[in-house]
């Protein structure tokens, strides 16, 4: 079973890689006007600004038709869109394989698959991946972000497999606790969504640079993504959703577990320090976004900084510092 999990893991990374290539192909072949339309197409939420009475009739999840543009007839030769569809399909396949990896891993270990760093990262990227699928169904207009989402997934999963791989093993007794389950699962979900949130954040910064006329390398990527405002809003929504979850997981469930396990709810262990830092930085982001005198780009930079601190906690703290949380290695209590 553990062997199967490892093979599925390899397939997962390959699937994400394939999805990435397809997204890239859509990116490259997408004919300018189509992509342009996708970029200006308002997200579902924005509907109704101009034509309030029509908007109510727009059914559920379909993207609103854009009355302003006289849509050119769809030709089967529209390779960009085809690649986009293929990309989403392959991406979905990747999500299933990813799920399979986690399930087989959990079965092999006889517990939830988040007992060490390798499993933790795999779970976080899985949540990010699922959240991406959810965003895609609700706002198909942002599909172009798929390239960067897939890139993130490939890099992080690859890093997990190369740097953090740990053979299947049981949990040490300190991890036998329902607070542990709650603590870790909420942090995984929050981290996954924050991971996904970093993608539109980055693209927003690139896009606003592009809009200001910057034409150097990273900014050229901004040519074909959605409008800056859409990206910024998506960034905020994802962060606003994940922040309370993270607060609960890291600052409530975590201390409850720590109290039962070590006798103190907070002890400034390196892992706790970095969770605190991430939390404060994300609070900074929410503050900055609510402060009119702070530019949205500045606020978004803070969100990315927050993500960097999350990565630091995920990789850096496990590898560089020792603390009570270093449960990646065996032994001890």
């Amino acid at each position: 079973m553990a062997e199967l999990s490892n093979q599925l893991m390899a397939l997962t990374v390959l699937a994400y890689l394939a999805a990435m290539v397809s997204y890239a192909a859509e990116y490259a072949f997408g004919n300018r006007s189509r992509v342009g339309r996708a970029a200006v197409r308002p997200a579902r939420q924005l509907v109704g600004a101009g034509a309030p009475t029509d908007a109510v009739e727009v059914p559920g999840d379909l993207p609103p038709s854009d009355p302003a543009s006289s849509a050119p007839p769809r030709t089967p030769l529209d390779r960009g869109a085809l690649f986009g569809k293929v990309a989403v399909g392959v991406n979905a396949l990747g999500v299933l394989l990813h799920l399979g990896t986690l399930v087989t891993r959990g079965l092999a270990a006889g517990r939830m698959p988040w007992g060490n760093m390798y499993e933790f990262i795999l779970s976080v990227t899985f949540v990010g991946s699922v959240a991406w699928m959810v965003v895609l169904t609700r706002r198909p207009g942002v599909r172009h972000l798929g390239l960067f989402v897939a890139l993130c997934l490939v890099v992080l999963n690859g890093a997990a497999a190369l740097v953090a791989y740990t053979p299947v093993g049981p949990l040490v007794p300190a991890l036998h606790s329902y607070w542990f389950l709650i603590h870790v699962s909420t942090i995984i979900i929050a981290s996954g969504i924050l991971l996904l949130g970093a993608v539109p954040a980055t693209m927003f910064l690139i896009r606003s640079g592009y809009d200001q006329g910057k034409r150097r390398f990273p900014y050229t990527l901004g040519k074909r993504v959605s409008a800056a405002e859409t990206l910024e809003r998506l960034t905020f929504r994802l962060h606003a959703f994940a922040f309370p979850l993270f607060t609960f997981g890291a600052l409530i469930a975590g201390p409850l577990w720590a109290e039962a396990s070590w006798g103190r709810y907070w002890g400034w262990d390196p892992k706790e320090v970095w969770a605190f830092i991430s939390w404060v930085v994300y609070a900074c982001y929410l503050h900055a976004r609510a402060t009119p005198s702070v530019k949205r780009t500045t606020a978004t930079w803070i969100a990315l900084l927050g993500f960097a601190t999350m990565l630091m906690n995920l990789f850096g703290v496990n590898l560089f510092f020792t603390g009570l949380h270093s449960y990646a290695n065996a032994g001890g209590m």
Partner: protein, 547 residues
């Protein structure tokens, strides 16, 4: 599109007359305004994050004093400087405190006026409509609707109230009705709750550190090695500044049984400690506790942190007098390879003189392996006692225990060995002892290894404000969710009688406008839905009622 209207912070109270104001007061007032501005809060929050970093890079005294000691050894020049800057105790340092105290001052200064504002706005009806609804981000131009204005206004107000808008309807001299409505007060309320809860958490943490205490204790199994709660009984303890040693609750513990199970790989699977507890001189209760599930006593919690073995050693000196000691050996790895020392300062007392000879004290030092590995490695192969053995070296001389210096009970005094006052009397190779073995030293004295007893390491803690901190954190989370999910917005309906020349008698003209007061992309949709319900008379009448 949607204009975002977010108050930076409430307008300062009516500005005082600018002329002739006291410059000191003005400076104070300006500083206060600066301190409580959103930008300053942002900078301070950021500083807080940055200030927390050194505590994860440098070893912290509260977390791992051994690693601080190592740091001092490795960086003899740098360490004292770092120490003076509070680098080994970052979270109790003055500069860290400065950041968070400033932040919380700013928080109070920011939240109080908002609190007042919020309470006031909850008592005042929604403001009347702006003159030109057409200027608002959301607008519906005048649309005819059947029904007299008063009737329509009542309908519209009902529609709004059903959607939980705070609604007010008023009529002016010209017979035009204005329905004003506002929704989303919970957002601001939640936000205030969140920030006030942060204060509660800070206060809770502060009081907790003042009135809390903790101690660590190694407890060997057996009635003769019990422990009663007192500062002197702890290996290491720390009381908050407001706690006196006499304040500690009275209880006694004695470990009657300790069970540990392990995976075949040696990874721990479960631990269970059984203790006899007496509280306040009451009856004895048998209680069990484990990792993650502490023993909760009155005003004290006992947490299981670790385990190990304590060899039982009987030493019989050259005059035939014996002493038995139970000596805990400290584990150094997951397989419980353990190190320790047994000191016998009061031996070899000549019965003729009855005087203790400091040069004839005896000490043993070495390792205990619960499972000796077949390959002869000096490490234990498994954490349970499958083939236990003790490897000891014997020393005789002055142990140095009378010098009055604090010293480790797990090792012999290095300085005494270095100075030759304590000498090795058993040769270079440590002697291997299995349970039951007796070892005869060069002077005829003997050491008998009788077996081992398990021991546990315990942390005993009490934090009186834990519940307050938890309550604060939960309240804060609720506030946070309300604040992040909520949207404050206002809508107005102006319902006027139709122009006199209109053919349609008795109808009304409905105009509407909407203003999101916070960033709320979904407002357009909501507004559309609202006006739809308000304009379609049937819809308004049916809305929310069973058909």
């Amino acid at each position: 599109m949607a204009v975002t209207v977010v108050e930076d912070r409430p307008a300062p109270p009516a500005a005082p007359p600018p002329r002739r104001s006291n410059p000191v007061l003005a400076l104070l007032r300006n500083s206060w305004r600066q301190l409580t501005s959103m930008r300053t809060a942002l900078v301070l929050l950021f500083l807080l994050a940055v200030a927390a970093i050194p505590g994860s890079v440098l070893p912290q005294r509260k977390v791992s004093p051994e690693r601080v000691a190592t740091y001092f050894r490795q960086h003899p020049d740098l360490a004292p400087v770092v120490d003076r800057l509070g680098g080994f105790d970052v979270y109790a340092s003055a500069w860290f405190a400065a950041v968070y105290l400033l932040l919380f001052t700013s928080l109070i200064g920011c939240v109080l006026p908002r609190l007042v504002d919020q309470v006031r706005s909850l008592w005042t009806p929604p403001p009347s409509a702006p003159r030109r609804l057409g200027r608002l981000p959301q607008h519906m131009p005048g649309t005819p609707r059947p029904g007299a204005p008063a009737e329509v206004a009542a309908d519209v107000a009902a529609v709004l109230r059903r959607r939980r808008f705070r609604t007010r309807a008023a009529v002016d001299d010209a017979g035009t009705w204005i329905v004003s409505a506002e929704k989303g007060y919970l957002k601001e309320t939640g936000n205030l709750l969140f920030h006030v809860a942060l204060l509660a958490v800070l206060v809770g943490v502060g009081f907790g550190s003042w009135y809390g205490w903790h101690g660590n204790r190694l407890l060997v199994q057996g009635a003769d090695t019990g422990f009663c709660n007192a500062v002197t009984q702890y290996d290491e303890s720390s009381l908050g500044p407001r706690v006196q040693p006499a304040d500690l609750p009275r209880f006694c513990l004695n470990l009657t049984r300790f069970q540990a199970t392990f995976q075949p790989t040696g990874q721990p699977k479960s631990f269970m400690a059984t203790v006899d507890v007496t509280e306040d001189g009451g009856p004895v209760h048998r209680r069990r506790f484990t990792v993650n599930d502490p023993l909760r006593l009155h005003h004290a919690n006992v947490h299981l942190l670790g385990q190990g073995y304590a060899p039982i050693l009987r030493f019989t000196d050259r005059y035939g007098v014996s002493q038995t000691k139970v000596v805990p050996f400290l584990p150094t790895d997951g397989m419980l390879t353990s190190e320790g020392a047994a000191k016998f300062p009061d031996v070899n007392i000549d019965p003729a003189t009855n005087k203790r000879n400091p040069d004839l004290q005896v000490g043993f030092e070495g390792v205990y392996l619960p499972t000796v590995s077949a390959d002869g490695s000096p490490r234990s192969a498994y954490p349970q006692e499958r083939s236990p053995a003790l490897f000891l070296t014997a020393y005789r001389g002055d142990l140095g225990v009378d010098l009055g210096n604090p010293e480790s009970v797990y090792a012999l005094n290095r300085a005494q060995i270095a100075s030759g006052q304590l000498t090795n009397v058993s040769g270079a190779r440590p002697r291997k002892l299995t349970p039951g073995d007796t070892w005869t030293l060069d002077d005829g004295s003997t050491l008998q290894f009788l077996g081992t007893r398990p021991f546990v390491t315990l942390a005993v803690r009490y934090d009186p404000t834990q519940a307050l901190v938890l309550g604060g954190a939960v309240a804060g989370l609720i506030g946070l969710m309300l604040s992040l999910a909520g949207h404050r917005r206002r809508v107005w309906f102006r319902i006027s009688p139709p122009a006199p020349d209109a053919d349609e008698r008795g109808g009304s003209l409905v105009e509407a406008g909407g203003l999101p007061r916070t960033d709320y992309p979904g407002f357009g949709e909501e507004f559309a839905e609202l006006v739809h319900a308000a304009v379609a008379a049937e819809a308004a009448a049916d809305d929310g009622r069973a058909p």
